[in-house]
Symmetry: C2
Subunit: 204 residues, 2 copies
């Protein structure tokens, strides 16, 4: 004896989502029975839409339901600065801060030879094209501080070397509010290496 | 700037599931984009089916896609014993053990006056009817050891009192493998109260 096939199907589908095991999938599948029909309709249709409506912006590769994403459509942003990120969700992170008003470029991954991900698998050539065509003045690399992130940052800075564009990298260091004793040694090393001059005596 | 509306809808729907907050919902919604179309179709259709196909068994109130559930349809089980459980998922739990071969009766809740759940809100009258009509010889109450569970067990045992049926309750006590020192006092009290005679000297 098992659950009705509809429930079994739901359990299998929930198990395909990251971080959801057998027990949680069972709990979620059963909880679906308590959700109102209207929400179920939206849920069901949105799942289908995710395969049909969601595309990538032809310019920055961000998630979009039209040819250009909402950010690339916005003419009131600073068109001299590009922020390079790994994934679409990083764009949202920066947008939530409400302090960056340039445009983005989504690589869709990081260079990782062990995983067989090479520069040509990422949206790097389109980045080079944009820097040239859009006369970008600064490219901010906002990639994660891992071997893959550093490799990708290095690769991009080399490939943009001759294009007369400023290339910067977001700061890696001690997170605000953290106890220095508990920060890992690599972060501490980065923080020391990237130290900033704050001397007020400009003659020194 | 926000996510495309399809993603926003998915985030809202995932948030309706138990134990899923804003961050997890966002992660799950984005992960949907990486799932193959076939799975998405099954997922989407199963969600719709959950509202249309899943019914309750007219006999035992278990989840079912037909009038009678798979267990009630099975004629090879012991038709003298009924196991009373709170929810459909409890049926699956017992079935997985593969040691109980009687039939079930799903109450769909427990008596809880504070939450406004009274005996008439549960499938108790149908239980009484079954005990009479199906000439049940034993009713096993397999409800959770909480105030609500105990209240419901007591209520059912009173209401079945005059029907010449044996009423039993699953044992509450120290779980197998647990350290006695770490068991809560209520469980220990239950375990002591429900102690079993294991003396080999039958004359004592």
């Amino acid at each position: 004896m098992k659950y009705p096939s509809t429930i079994l199907n739901l359990i299998e589908c929930f198990k395909k989502l990251p971080g959801i095991g057998e027990k949680t999938a069972e709990r979620l599948a059963l909880s679906v029975l308590d959700i109102d029909s209207e929400t179920i309709d939206i849920f069901s249709n949105s799942l289908k839409d995710s395969k049909t409506k969601i595309k990538r912006c032809t310019k920055c590769n961000n998630l979009s339901e039209s040819e250009l994403c909402e950010i690339c459509k916005d003419k009131n942003r600073n068109n001299k600065i590009l922020c390079v990120v790994e994934e679409p969700k990083n764009v949202i992170l920066f947008e939530k801060l409400n302090i960056f008003d340039g445009y983005y470029h989504v690589l869709d991954g990081l260079i990782s030879p062990i995983d067989g991900i090479n520069p040509e698998d990422l949206n790097i050539s389109s980045l080079v094209d944009r820097v040239k065509k859009e006369k970008i003045e600064e490219v901010i690399l906002a990639l994660k501080p891992s071997i893959e992130g550093e490799t990708t940052s290095l690769y991009i800075s080399r490939i943009l070397e001759d294009l007369n564009v400023k290339i910067s990298k977001i700061a890696y260091g001690i997170p605000i509010g953290a106890e220095i004793d508990y920060v890992d040694s690599l972060t501490l090393e980065m923080a020391l290496e990237n130290r900033m001059d704050i001397s007020t005596n400009k003659d020194s």
